[in-house]
Symmetry: C2
Subunit: 247 residues, 2 copies
DNA sequence: CGCGCTGTTGAAACTTGTCAAAGTTTGTGG
DNA sequence: CCACAAACTTTGACAAGTTTCAACAGCGCG
């Protein structure tokens, strides 16, 4: 029964939760690693964790000891201040990393909440530093990921600092569309995992303003909205609107 | 003449431009390094560069090959988009690092402009990665610095997303005050190196709004303004105003 | 010494927020 | 599987805050 053995081996490989056979490896931390290096990363990323919709992956002020790679699902991160302000700082999807904010202080500085049932890979940080001292490619890629996060934040600052409501929402939709595309989903049709209020918080707007902007886009034939279901009908139109120069 | 030799040696050490004898080493990259490790960093940070007021340290789209530690002076970073938007993403002072945005794309993604005659230490990035593969403390500290930059950006997002004009300006002044304090300057009295327009760009406001807010603060006895010279008269008052809860 | 850049101030216009009411969807428990 | 409550969304009218436009003052640099 050699054939049977082979089958067993294959199925074992398939269930093994490892970067080596993760279809996100080109988006995620392992990008560019050699097979032998990948295996070493596998050893490190042994723990996976399920997070149900609405549950926290971590909370601000919890001790930081690991970063997380999203394997499936959708998250938001938000910051709360003592005086009660609340700002969504980002929405994260499969292949993206969570927890980078905690390295600097040894404590998480924001909350990470699952917006749908999700699964993450836990990457213990001290061990990641250890491995990246040995694997140059991993080290460099990790630095790139952190740097891109800074650049992304600059983009959000630009959005919040210079765009008006409709421009912000257009930018938001185009950004989502582009990220869904990179993951093999439709660029033009998707479900929003977050509420109008969460979108508003991210964009520095009130939920009513977000809702009105959606309605306006629909009137103008740019998108079709049905609650959380979005169809983009006129991508160039959205881009034009976004560049329209606000305040 | 042994005495003479000693003197010569000392003065040589003093002029040597090295992290070992930089008075910013507790604020900057070398934090926490052992003397022997410091020396290795010294070898790396051999080049210094003067940047005159108004000159660019680097520009968006230039190839990235080094990060910079500010030895003296004051900088702003800003991002320009194709559609002509312009946003100041930060103001940097002695001991802070510039250029982290370039790691992710191998190109700088923003402009760094000196707001006064300044001096920076050039840290070639590939060599920094090399050294941080060998010196664990350096590696970890560098990661902390990047992480803190992300957290700082979240703070700006909070500011832009949830605060009204006067709250933003109060937060800005308190932040500057705190950073000057950390560098041994007065917490209550300083010169702004940037124009009202640059402050406005950073805070997502028009220069007129910034000017009005300054006037209002002065009327209320919170600060004394004379052009770029600021005296903070009522720090608790500014803090209260900042927490006042805006929109 | 004057020109230009920077800053201040006022009034009007515009954008977004606030408050309120009603409609819709989702989830839960009977 | 239905009913009901809670959460979310939409829409309107009005208020508030910020920008825009404009005029003028002041400082600093050449």
């Amino acid at each position: 029964m050699p054939a049977r053995n082979v089958t067993a081996k294959i199925s074992l490989e398939v269930i093994k939760t490892a970067c080596s056979n993760c279809n996100l490896r080109e988006l995620c931390l392992p990008l560019g690693l050699e097979p032998t290096e990948l295996e070493r990363l596998d050893d490190l990323v042994s723990t996976r964790r399920r997070v149900k919709r609405g549950e926290h992956l971590y909370r601000a002020s919890q001790p930081f000891d690991a970063i997380y790679a999203i394997r499936s699902g959708f998250f938001k991160t938000d910051v709360l201040t003592e005086d009660g302000r609340d700002q969504v700082t980002g929405f994260q999807m499969a292949g993206e990393l969570l927890g980078l904010d905690g390295i600097g202080t040894e404590f998480h500085t924001c909350n990470a909440v699952a917006l749908e049932d999700s699964e993450v890979c836990t990457i213990p940080f001290p061990q990641l530093e250890g491995l990246s001292r040995e694997i140059h490619t991993l080290q460099h890629h990790f630095h790139k990921v952190m740097s891109r996060e800074i650049v992304r934040d600059h983009g959000v600052m630009m959005l919040l600092g210079t765009m008006r409501a409709e421009e912000r929402l257009a930018a938001f939709l185009l950004n989502l569309s582009q990220r869904f595309t990179a993951r093999g989903y439709s660029p033009a049709e998707f479900y929003l995992r977050m509420t109008r209020e969460e979108i508003g918080s991210y964009l520095g707007l009130k939920l009513e303003t977000v809702s009105r902007a959606f309605s306006r886009f629909q009137e103008e034939g740019l998108i079709a909205v049905q609650q959380k279901h979005i169809r983009i009908l006129d991508t160039p139109g959205l881009k034009r609107l976004m560049a329209q120069q606000g305040r």
